[in-house]
């Protein structure tokens, strides 16, 4: 009788220890949470100042998420798409055209947009010429030189292509003496200002910022055309990323203007707040892409 009781006690203890050992595993989340969040950034006017701005945001997010958050700069627009495909990014702050492309070609989720200090979160494409040039319409452009920003930009490539197409110019090599990509919006603006190109395209936010820094830009450049406004920057995340993490990140970003630490980080990031992003916001970009698809195919063949 006594040995039976002892046996029961030993069995009970063994079962208890087993349950104790299994308990943490049972309570753990089902998905695998990464130890580091790697987010790409597309280049702006000065990539070093840009990295400085994003560093404050990374520090804040790391503090809130309790994981390492690292931002990596990309040297070209559109490089983000390649890196997403190579699964080397968890997310990226993308400009409109890469965002639209990523939504179409990759399984990405548009998360949030930063709202600029002027309260605007959108940008639009400008086509501009020098005031002293004789170009005042599409008809005056034939035989001139034109500078684009990058093939992966809506404001610096899609929109000017659509503009040209609408005005009957469907062959860049034929209709222009020279066309090239400056690599950045500022470079494209400066190329027209310096006379290295007759016609230029760039996004409004960079144009206005440079014009604010140098008043002569507004006096010397004449804007011929403006594209529809679309969200300038969108944070997109891989959908395979842990859902809890994505949800937490969204909440943190959308509420960071409601606490002093977040407000400080936003101030250094030069934004007022983050707002929720919707895939539908990029329908205008998709339409533009659709409009210039023949020209894009032609350009693709040449490359």
């Amino acid at each position: 009788m006594k040995s039976w009781r002892l046996s029961c006690l030993v069995r009970g203890l063994a079962v208890g220890l087993l349950l104790w050992g299994l308990l943490p595993a049972a309570l753990a989340p089902a998905t695998d949470q990464p130890h580091e969040l790697l987010v790409g950034i597309e280049p702006e006017h000065n990539i070093f100042d840009q990295m400085e701005r994003y560093r404050h945001l990374a520090d804040y997010l790391a503090g809130q998420l309790q994981i390492k958050v690292r931002f990596t700069i990309m040297s070209r627009y559109g490089e983000g798409i390649k890196r997403f495909k190579a699964r080397k990014l968890d997310g990226a702050f993308l400009t409109p055209y890469p965002t639209n492309k990523a939504l179409q070609e990759l399984d990405l989720e548009p998360l949030v947009h930063p709202v600029g200090l002027d309260g605007d979160l959108t940008s639009q494409g400008y086509i501009f010429v020098r005031q002293d040039s004789a170009i005042r319409g599409a008809d005056d452009m034939y035989g001139k030189s034109i500078v684009f920003v990058d093939p992966a930009t809506m404001e610096g490539y899609l929109f000017p292509l659509a503009y040209l197409l609408r005005h009957g110019m469907d062959d860049l090599s034929r209709d222009f003496s020279r066309f090239y990509f400056a690599g950045s919006h500022a470079s494209a603006i400066l190329a027209v200002l310096d006379g290295r190109a007759d016609i230029g395209a760039a996004k409004s936010t960079v144009f206005n910022r440079l014009a604010d820094e140098d008043n002569s830009i507004r006096q010397e450049l004449f804007i011929l055309g403006r594209s529809p406004a679309v969200p300038e920057i969108t944070l997109c995340l891989r959908k395979e990323l842990d859902a809890t993490l994505r949800s937490r990140l969204t909440t943190i970003l959308l509420t960071m203007d409601q606490n002093s630490q977040g407000q400080m980080a936003l101030k250094r990031f030069k934004a007022l707040r983050f707002v929720k992003a919707m895939a539908a916001e990029f329908s205008k970009v998709a339409a533009l892409e659709e409009e210039v698809r023949p020209l894009l195919k032609e350009a693709g063949k040449r490359e």
Partner: protein
């Protein structure tokens, strides 16, 4: 001396505090100089780091797009490190020309960042990219040149500052040594002063002590000693005087003891034969058939025997006064009783001449009781009244007067004065008045006042003095006894 010691300690303390302040100042100055030098060395390291950073970025610049090129993130990190390094330079305080150079350097770095960014993000034709690369590289070279020039300037400044700092440290060391030497000198001076101030008077006091030890009780410290030593010298002189007085008193006491013993022995030996002679003389005078002339001779012999017996009795009284039986009593009452006896005594043949002397009482009504032997007190008062009466009679004064006065003095002392209008006392005799066997009377034994003094002094705190009457002629005997309350307090 206490004041001098305090002042000296204060001076030493101030010198010490001064030394400490100078030492702290020297340490502060030296530390400040060393800190400045360390800072300069740190700045030197920062500038060298800056040059290395620029060279690293330049290397990134030239290898971008080649197989040796670094990832963009690394290049960005290097440029940001360079930027932060330049920012660090501004955190320190600089002279205006240096600050201007640093601002120019920072401006160049901002331009460098801009140019690099253009170059890195540019996708235009290769010639333009080459131009952007050259432009950025030129700015980088300018930064290196400027940094190296600043390093050379800093080195020069560092060398000058090091020399200046070492000179200041050397100067500070001299000041420190001088302060220590000065403090040492002040300490020595103060010590010497105190040694001289203490050893001189101590030697003087020691010499005086040795004189006293040798028995020179009249020796007095003539030298004027300073401070507390002056007070000590005064006290020493007073002590020597007191010692001399005590010694004299002791000698007197010893002398009296010898006289007393001798007198007591003689009186005892003489008294009995004298009684026998007196009785024989009286029998002879009464019973023998002698003629009146012979009987007169016998009567004179008997009178002389009585005088000798009285003298012996007086001697015995003086040598061995009876032990007083102390009780609380009223002095005025004892005086009244004594006066009755005195009037009776003044009618005897011995004081016949003083019979007409008037005795006036001036007794204080609120006199407290004293503790005394009533018999001995009566004897004292009677002696003094009879002595005054004899003195008045001897002066030939027709209106002889003795005033007896009692008063309560401050401190609870009771004073009794016997004032006569007789001849007074010769100034040379004041010291001898109370000596035994001193008398100015032809028939006096010289024991009355000596016994009186002995009896007064047998009473606790009692004393007797004599002076000439300052208000007129005659003498004044003054006795003082403590009141009963005061006597208990003394007991």
């Amino acid at each position: 001396m206490k004041k001098k010691i305090l002042i000296s300690f204060l001076v030493l303390f101030l010198v010490f505090v001064g030394g400490v302040i100078i030492t702290l100042h020297v340490i502060d100055k030296t530390t400040e100089n060393l800190t400045a030098l360390l800072l300069l060395h740190k700045v030197e390291v920062l500038r060298q780091d800056l040059v290395i950073n620029v060279q690293t970025v330049q290397s990134n610049l030239y290898t971008t797009g080649t197989s040796f090129g670094k990832e963009l993130d690394i290049i960005v990190d290097n440029v940001l490190t360079l930027h932060n390094r330049a920012q660090t330079c501004m955190e320190c305080h600089h002279e205006p020309p240096v600050e201007k150079e640093i601002l120019q350097l920072q401006e160049l770095i901002e331009q460098y960042k801009e140019a690099l960014s253009y170059f890195i993000t540019s996708s235009a034709d290769p010639q333009r990219i080459m131009r952007l690369q050259t432009f950025a590289a030129d700015i980088g070279d300018q930064i290196i040149d400027k940094s190296q020039w600043m390093v050379m300037s800093a080195n020069h400044a560092l060398r000058n500052k090091t020399t200046a700092a070492m000179a200041e440290v050397s100067g500070a060391k001299k000041i420190l040594y001088a302060t220590l030497f000065f403090s040492f000198l002040v300490g020595i001076a103060i010590s010497l002063y105190f040694i001289k101030s203490i050893t001189g008077p101590v030697a003087e006091l020691l010499a005086a002590t040795r004189k006293i030890k040798k028995g020179e009780l009249e020796y007095q410290i003539e030298k004027k000693l300073k401070d507390e030593f002056g007070e000590l010298g005064g006290a020493f002189n007073e002590m020597a005087l007191s010692l001399k007085e005590q010694c004299n008193r002791l000698q007197e006491t010893e002398r009296l003891a010898v006289v007393g013993e001798l007198s007591a022995g003689m009186a005892h030996e003489i008294k009995n034969p004298m009684a026998g002679i007196k009785v024989s003389m009286e029998v002879l005078s009464r019973d023998s058939p002698l003629n009146p002339e012979d009987k007169e001779i016998l009567r004179r012999v008997i009178d002389e025997i009585d005088r000798i017996t009285g003298l012996l009795k007086g001697l015995l009284n003086y040598a061995r006064p009876p032990k007083p039986q102390m009780i609380s009593l009223d002095v005025n009452q004892v005086l009244e009783t004594t006066l009755k006896s005195a009037r009776f005594a003044l009618r005897t043949p011995r004081h016949k001449k003083a019979e007409k002397v008037e005795i006036v009482k001036d007794l204080s009504a609120d006199l407290p009781h004293i503790v005394a032997d009533p018999g001995q007190l009566q004897q004292i008062f009677l002696n003094l009244i009879l002595n005054s009466a004899d003195a008045v009679a001897a002066s030939g004064e027709t209106q002889g007067l003795i005033t007896i006065e009692t008063r309560l003095l401050a401190g609870g002392w009771v004073q009794i004065r016997f004032i006569d209008n007789g001849r007074g006392i010769d100034p040379d005799s004041f010291d001898k008045v109370f000596n035994p066997f001193f008398t100015t009377k032809s028939q006096g034994t010289g024991l009355g006042l000596a016994i009186t003094k002995r009896l007064v002094e047998q009473h606790n705190g009692g004393s007797i003095t004599v002076t000439n009457n300052p208000a007129g002629k005659g003498a004044v005997f003054t006795i003082i006894f403590p009141s009963e309350q005061d006597n208990r307090g003394q007991s």
